[in-house]
């Protein structure tokens, strides 16, 4: 299940972007439809993979991006949740998918260790 690979890669990327000793509260990611990320599978993978890391208690927010499509009949560019839809402008079938295959770590909500904090 590729969501597990994605979760592992996400954790590595988060670790590179926060100072050591940080406690991560939330990680926000975006996934384009081409990536086939299934939200419940992604959440399961996240919960499995985050144990023992700075993200141990962190929530994962997944923004699923829509398909970008172009109608071959009228040229209309639009977005939709499914690739097999009719053009909203002229109702023609079979719009051409334009993507998207983004898979991005967008932001991290983190408690950064205080320099004066004596607790480890």
């Amino acid at each position: 299940m590729h969501e597990l690979s994605i979760a592992t890669a996400l954790l590595e990327l988060v670790a590179r972007n926060v100072p050591p000793g940080s406690v991560v509260r939330r990680v926000t990611m975006e996934a384009g439809p081409l990536r086939g990320v299934e939200p419940s599978a992604m959440q399961w993978a996240w919960q499995s993979a985050r144990a023992g890391t700075a993200c141990e208690g962190a929530e994962l927010t997944i923004n699923l991006l829509p398909w970008s499509l172009r109608c071959l009949a009228c040229g209309n560019q639009f977005t939709a949740r499914d690739v097999y839809v009719a053009c909203p402008a002229c109702n023609a079938d079979g719009p051409l998918p334009q993507g998207n295959d983004d898979l991005r770590l967008m932001s991290i909500d983190v408690d950064v260790p205080d320099a004066t904090d004596t607790k480890s």
Partner: protein
């Protein structure tokens, strides 16, 4: 506090893929990532390819969860074969290929075939450093598989439909299959073939020959 990052999640994989790509390019190797469901005939296709194109110097990297069986089959026709066992991993990643390349003499290879783990879904999004992604469907798997796997269809530089010798025996709407592909990727070449009978294989072999002539 919120740290804005906006970075590709597979950044690390893609960095290794870029290194692989550079290394292959420097050695003048054309490479492809062959993906398809388990049992669609990837290994059989590679075996047939190795036998029918003796003038091309091949290298093969084959990924499976476990066993050396695919590598053993192909080693009968090719001296440069590396088996990667992923354990539980359902797809190859750039790191696997990076390590496999160390076991190949790239200056003695014209064409590298990377046969991915049998899977129509997970491998597609992982850049290995290849020149082209090739997707393979089989007649015996049903005519709706292209429509159900748009990512592979969209990303592929060539698609194969194998086991066409079974068309008289299984329900398969060839026009539907072709239409589904055209809808997602209008320009992708589609080779309809049978490794068993040899029908249609010329299309695949000619495409490979053209890629190697540079």
């Amino acid at each position: 506090m919120q740290v804005s990052v906006v970075q590709n999640v597979l950044k690390l994989n893609d960095e290794v893929a870029a290194m692989n790509r550079q290394r292959l390019k420097q050695s003048g190797v054309f490479s492809l990532d062959l993906m398809g469901a388990p049992g669609c005939g990837k290994t059989a296709l590679v075996e047939a390819t190795l036998q029918r194109l003796p003038d091309i110097r091949f290298g093969v990297i084959v990924g499976d969860l476990t066993t050396q069986r695919d590598a053993d089959r192909m080693a009968r026709y090719c001296k440069q074969v590396v088996q990667v066992n992923t354990g539980k991993g359902c797809h190859l990643e750039a790191n696997h290929v990076h390590q496999a390349l160390d076991h190949l003499r790239l200056d003695e290879i014209d064409l590298l075939i990377i046969e991915n783990v049998g899977n129509l879904i997970c491998p597609v999004g992982f850049d290995l450093g290849q020149d082209v992604k090739v997707g393979m469907f089989a007649v015996s798997d049903g005519d709706d598989k292209a429509a159900k796997h748009p990512y592979l269809v969209i990303e592929a530089g060539l698609l194969l439909l194998s086991k066409v010798d079974l068309l008289p025996y299984v329900p398969f709407d060839l026009e539907l299959f072709r239409t589904d592909i055209r809808r997602l990727n209008p320009d992708v070449p589609v080779v309809e073939c049978s490794v068993t009978t040899g029908q249609g294989l010329e299309g695949w072999l000619n495409w490979l020959k053209a890629k190697v002539k540079r």
